[in-house]
C-alpha cells in the first residue's frame, strides 16, 4: 500500500487557484523531491498536506496510511504520522522547547494508544537525538526558536522530526538560509531517518540539497501541476539547464 496517495489535488488561496491537479504517490521507504520555480505551488502543496488554514481544497484527495487526511485538523494529521518541517520556523517566546516537545510526543503517543512518557524517559529520548544533530542541551530550556539563527531553526525542525518519529516527513525548503556546514548536519539528520518504512518529501528550489539527501524520485512543479517526473538525474539536468528548458519543452 502506498504511504501517501495524492489524486487530482486542487487548492485555492483567497479564491486564486494555486494547485491545479496534483497526482503524487509516495511508497514506504521512498524519498521524493519536488522542485520548481518560485510561485509554482511547492510550498502550498506542503502546507495543504499539513493542514494549514487559509488554503481551501476545492477538489481531489490525499490518502495517507489508508486514511483521507484532507478533512483532518493539523494535530490529527501529526498524530497520524505526518510531519512538516517549516520553511520559516516561527519563534514562540515563553514556551520552552522541552515543554512543547514533551506535550507533542505525549499527544502523539496518546493518539496511538501508547502510554505517555514521564520526564525521565523523555529526557533520555531527547538526549540521544540531540547528539545526532550536534545540539547543545541548553537549547531545550530556551523558548521555541527565540533568537535562533536561520541554521539553528532548521536544525531544530529536524531535531523535532527525529524525536517525533513520523511516517512521512515533508521538508519545506529546509535548505534555504543554510550555510554549508549547517546543510551537512541537517542532511545527516534526515539521512539517519531514512528507512524502509518512512517516506520523505523534499520541497526545494535548488539542486544543492539533493547532493546530500539523494532522492529516489524528482518531480518538477510548474503552475500548480507536476509537469515532469524522473530520477535524481532530472535534478542535475535542471541545475545545468534551468527551469526554462522545461517550460519550452512543455
Amino acid at each position: 500500500m502506498a504511504l501517501l496517495e495524492v489524486k487530482n489535488l486542487h487548492a485555492t488561496v483567497q479564491g486564486r487557484e494555486i494547485l491545479k491537479g496534483i497526482d503524487l504517490t509516495i511508497n514506504p521507504g521512498e524519498v521524493h523531491a519536488i522542485m520548481g520555480p518560485n510561485g509554482s505551488g511547492k510550498s502550498t502543496l506542503a502546507s495543504v498536506l499539513a493542514g494549514r488554514e487559509n488554503y481551501e481544497v476545492t477538489n481531489g484527495s490525499a490518502i495517507f496510511n489508508g486514511k483521507e487526511i484532507l478533512h483532518m485538523s493539523p494535530d490529527e494529521r501529526a498524530c497520524e504520522g505526518l510531519f512538516l518541517a517549516f520553511q520559516y520556523p516561527v519563534e514562540i517566546p515563553g514556551v520552552s522547547t522541552s515543554y512543547f516537545l514533551k506535550a507533542a510526543v505525549n499527544a502523539i503517543r496518546k493518539y496511538r494508544g501508547e502510554p505517555e512518557l514521564d520526564a525521565m524517559d523523555f529526557l533520555k529520548l531527547i538526549k540521544e537525538k540531540m547528539k545526532l544533530l550536534e545540539m547543545d542541551q541548553s537549547f531545550m530550556n530556551r523558548s521555541i526558536n527565540e533568537g535562533f539563527s536561520g541554521g539553528e531553526k532548521k536544525r531544530n525542525e529536524i531535531f523535532q522530526m527525529t524525536v517525533l518519529d513520523p511516517k512521512l516527513c515533508i521538508l519545506d525548503e529546509t535548505d534555504s538560509g543554510l550555510d554549508i556546514d549547517a546543510l551537512k548536519i541537517v542532511s545527516q539528520g534526515v539521512n539517519a531517518l531514512r528507512n524502509s518504512t518512512r517516506g520523505i518529501l523534499l520541497v526545494t528550489h535548488y539542486q544543492r540539497l539533493l547532493n546530500y539527501i539523494v532522492p529516489d524520485f524528482v518531480h518538477v512543479l510548474r503552475d500548480g501541476k507536476i509537469i515532469k517526473s524522473g530520477d535524481k538525474s532530472l535534478a542535475l539536468e535542471l541545475e545545468a539547464r534551468g527551469y526554462g528548458w522545461l517550460e519550452n519543452a512543455a
Binding site: 493539523p74 494535530d75 510531519f83 516561527v90 515563553g94 514556551v95 512543547f100 516537545l101 510526543v105 502523539i108
Partner: protein, 447 residues
C-alpha cells in the same frame, strides 16, 4: 449605636447610596475619621459619567443597586475556604469574613512575633496616635467617591507594621471573603502596611466571594508606606464570583533605596476597577508595577495606574497584560507623572493585550506628564489576536487546539508571572493562571 447612619445628601441620584458609616466601637478617633470621610463623600459623590477618569466603566449597575453593609460574618463552608487558603503553601494567613477579621479561620503562626498586627478598631491611646497617620494619608492621592465611601464605612481592617530590618520570610496572605447573603451587600476591606527601613515582606491579598444570586460590592482601600531600603512585594488577586462588583483604591509611597514590586491579578468579578497610585517620594526609590487580567463572558476590568515620580534618580517599570475572551472589556490607563524635581527619571511602561474573540474590546491609554527635562520615559501598547502561525506550528506537531491555545496564552502571561519575586507566590500565581486559562479555553471550545 446604630450600625448605619444616613447622611443627608443633596444629590437625589445618590440618595440610595448615601454613605454607610462604620460601626462605632467607642473609638473616638475612628468615629471622627469615618464622619470626616462621609462628609467628603457628600462633597465628591460618585464619579459622574462625564468624568474623564471613569469614562470607560459603566457604574450604573452599582448606582442602581441598594447595597447593605454586611452586619456580621456569614457562614464559611470549610471546602470553600480550602479552595482559597494558601496556608498549606506556607503563607501566613489572615482571613476576613464579610469584612470582619476571623481569628478562627486564620493561620498566624509566629507572625505576631515578627511584625505588628493591629485592627484599627482596637487601636486606642498611644497606639491610636501612632497608627492614625497611616489611615487616610496615602489615600488622599486618590480622592474619589469610592475611596471616601470606604473610609466612611469600613467595619474592620488591619494595620500591619514590619519593623526596621525585619525580613518576614514567609509571605502573608490576607483573604477577604464575602459569604452568601439574601440581599445585596457591600464590604469595605481596609489595609495599611508600613514597611520600616530595611524591612522585607510579601503581602498577597485575595478578594473572593461565594457564589450567590445577590450582588456584592467590594470597595477596598489599601495604603502602603515603603520605608528606606525596604523591599515590599504587594500582590492583589481578584477572584470574586461573577455577581461581584469590585473597586480597589491602592496608594503607595516609596522611600529612598526601597524596592516596590506589585502585581494586580484579575480573573474574577463582573466589573472591576483598580486604581493604583505609586509615589516615588525620594531619590533612588524603585517601583515595578505589573498587572495580569484574564477575562471572559461580560467581565469588564478597568486598571488605572499612576506612577508619580516626585524626586530624581528613580527607575520605574510597568507591565500590564490582558487576555480577553468572549465579550470581555478591558481598560488600561497608565499615567506617568514626572515632577520638576524628578530629573534622571527612567520609566518604562508597556501594555499588551491578546484578544481571544472578535467581541472582546481593549482600551489602552498611556498618559505622560513630564515637567523635568532630563528624563527617559518610554511607553508601548499592543493589542492583537493569538498568532495563527504560532498556533499552526504547535498543532502541526500534534498538540491539540485547546492545548496549543493554553500554551500560547500562558506564554503571553509568562513574563508577568516571571517578575514575581517570592518563589512560593510565583508558583501559586502560575498555577492559578494555568487554571484560569484552561477553563477559558475549554469554555471557548464548548460554546
Amino acid at each position: 449605636m446604630t450600625q448605619m447612619a444616613q447622611v443627608n445628601n443633596q444629590r437625589s441620584d445618590q440618595a440610595r447610596n448615601s454613605p454607610v458609616i462604620g460601626p462605632d466601637y467607642g473609638s473616638r478617633w475612628l468615629a471622627d475619621f469615618h464622619q470626616a470621610a462621609a462628609a467628603a463623600f457628600d462633597r465628591i459623590g460618585y464619579p459622574d459619567a462625564d468624568d474623564e477618569q471613569w469614562r470607560f466603566i459603566n457604574l450604573s449597575p452599582i448606582r442602581k443597586t441598594t447595597f447593605h453593609p454586611a452586619v456580621e460574618p456569614g457562614h464559611v463552608p470549610p471546602q470553600e475556604l480550602a479552595k482559597l487558603s494558601l496556608a498549606d503553601r506556607g503563607f501566613y494567613e489572615l482571613v476576613f469574613v464579610d469584612g470582619m477579621f476571623s481569628p478562627a479561620h486564620s493561620h498566624t503562626g509566629d507572625l505576631a512575633d515578627k511584625i505588628e498586627l493591629c485592627r484599627f478598631k482596637d487601636a486606642a491611646g498611644k497606639d491610636a496616635q501612632r497608627i492614625s497617620p497611616y489611615l487616610g494619608q496615602e489615600l488622599s492621592a486618590l480622592s474619589n467617591g469610592f475611596a471616601a465611601l470606604n473610609s466612611a464605612g469600613f467595619a474592620d481592617g488591619l494595620f500591619l507594621n514590619v519593623p526596621a530590618g525585619v525580613a518576614v520570610g514567609r509571605p502573608i496572605h490576607i483573604l477577604w471573603l464575602t459569604t452568601r447573603h439574601s440581599r445585596p451587600v457591600v464590604v469595605f476591606p481596609r489595609l495599611s502596611v508600613n514597611a520600616c527601613d530595611h524591612a522585607q515582606a510579601t503581602v498577597l491579598q485575595t478578594f473572593a466571594s461565594l457564589d450567590s444570586d445577590q450582588p456584592v460590592l467590594t470597595n477596598a482601600a489599601v495604603e502602603v508606606v515603603s520605608g528606606r531600603e525596604s523591599q515590599l512585594e504587594l500582590i492583589t488577586v481578584e477572584r470574586e464570583a461573577s455577581h461581584a462588583f469590585h473597586v480597589t483604591n491602592q496608594a503607595v509611597r516609596v522611600h529612598t533605596g526601597a524596592r516596590l514590586q506589585t502585581l494586580t491579578f484579575n480573573s474574577g468579578a463582573l466589573l472591576v476597577r483598580n486604581n493604583l497610585h505609586v509615589q516615588l517620594a525620594e531619590p533612588f526609590a524603585q517601583a515595578t508595577i505589573n498587572g495580569l487580567t484574564i477575562s471572559s463572558g461580560h467581565q469588564h476590568v478597568d486598571n488605572h495606574t499612576t506612577l508619580d515620580h516626585a524626586r530624581e534618580n528613580c527607575p520605574s517599570h510597568e507591565l500590564y497584560k490582558s487576555l480577553l475572551a468572549g465579550n470581555a472589556g478591558g481598560v488600561f490607563r497608565g499615567k506617568i507623572l514626572v515632577r520638576p524635581d524628578a530629573q534622571k527619571t527612567d520609566s518604562k511602561q508597556t501594555s499588551k493585550t491578546m484578544l481571544l474573540s472578535d467581541d472582546a474590546v481593549m482600551n489602552s491609554q498611556p498618559q505622560l506628564e513630564i515637567y523635568a527635562n532630563d528624563v527617559k520615559c518610554t511607553h508601548g501598547s499592543t493589542t492583537g489576536p493569538i498568532d495563527d502561525e504560532q498556533l499552526f506550528y504547535l498543532r502541526s506537531r500534534g498538540v491539540s487546539a485547546v492545548k496549543a491555545r493554553s500554551l500560547l496564552t500562558y506564554a503571553f502571561a509568562g513574563d508577568v508571572l516571571n517578575r514575581v519575586l517570592n518563589p512560593v507566590t510565583r508558583e501559586f500565581l502560575s498555577e492559578l493562571t494555568s487554571d484560569c486559562l484552561h477553563r477559558m479555553h475549554i469554555d471557548a471550545v464548548g460554546s
